[in-house]
């Protein structure tokens, strides 16, 4: 029950923050990526605010033995820098530039701009499914 509340609260505050930040507007996100055109730096402010809070959170995390409502921390431990990380990030950037959407704002937009958001999210899940099928080749 406590875990459910934490997950729902985190997701809801995240979605509210996305809506307030302007990051649910693909045109604004594309504006950030349009460095050589009419550049819109708003995304940098969003990232700066999020990083400031999370930098403090990681300092608190170091002093905790267990999280508040779960038995242990389940955090990524890999430090591997490989072609999969770089190749995947290059592809993600291409898609981000094409549509002006990344996964968080796309899912949040299901509540506000259902048709375009649903087309993007369905395609995104299909892309995830295709990767799942070919994953063993990487």
């Amino acid at each position: 029950m406590k875990r459910s509340i934490v997950a729902l609260a985190s997701g809801t505050i995240f979605g509210f923050g996305l809506a307030l930040s302007g990051m649910m507007n693909p045109l604004r996100v594309r504006g950030f990526l349009d460095l050589f055109g009419n550049w819109d730096p708003t995304l940098a402010f969003v990232m700066g605010g999020a990083l400031a809070v999370m930098a403090v959170a990681w300092q608190i995390q170091k002093r905790m033995h267990v999280p508040l409502v779960c038995d242990e921390f389940s955090l990524p431990g890999t430090k591997l820098i490989d072609n999969k990380l770089i190749g995947g990030s290059v592809l993600f950037g291409i898609g981000w530039g094409i549509a002006g959407l990344c996964p968080g704002p796309a899912i949040a937009s299901l509540a506000t701009s259902f048709v375009p958001a649903a087309i993007f999210v369905a395609s995104m899940l299909a892309g995830m499914g295709i990767f799942r099928m070919v994953e063993s080749k990487f």
Binding site: S10, L33, G49, L51, A52, S89, A111
Partner: protein, 149 residues
């Protein structure tokens, strides 16, 4: 408030929204001990990921994203959004974003917000890579005269 030189930017809304996104990620980290990475949670919620968060947690987090946006439109105001004009852009972008975020193990939230603030070299490299890749993509699209606005 506007930013000198960038009349279209929304620095205050961006910063406050960013602080809330950071708070959300901090609640997930300190509460549940997990990374608030949207691509991973979404894959988990629809059964496209073996590991990761327990299913109810992933589903509630992902559902919360849409709920939070709905709360905003109900109590604050409409969300301004201009989407690509044709389904082709959305489908192409979505497919590549889905494939790429799984292949690269994260997106703007997991690598960008959570990993960079942890000073993870892996996440910093991933974030720099997808930002540069996105900028090159937009530059190419604009150079071809295919840009939408």
């Amino acid at each position: 408030m506007t930013l000198p030189g960038f009349p279209g930017a929304a620095p205050v809304e961006g910063l406050v929204g960013g602080l809330l996104i950071g708070l959300a990620a901090a609640i997930m980290l300190l509460g549940a001990g997990r990374i608030a990475g949207v691509s991973g949670m979404a894959a988990r919620a629809v059964g496209l990921s073996k590991g990761g968060a327990p299913w109810p947690m992933a589903a509630l987090f992902v559902g919360g994203l849409a709920l939070g946006a709905a709360v905003y439109t109900t109590f604050v105001g409409p969300v301004e959004a201009a989407f690509p004009p044709t389904a082709g852009w959305l489908i192409a972008g979505g497919l590549v974003v889905g494939f790429g975020t799984r292949m690269g193990s994260g997106c703007t939230s997991g690598h960008g917000v959570c990993g960079m603030s942890r000073l993870s070299p892996r996440s910093m490299l991933a974030t720099a890579t997808f930002i540069v890749s996105g900028m090159v993509t937009v530059a190419i699209i604009n150079a071809l005269g295919w840009g939408w606005s």
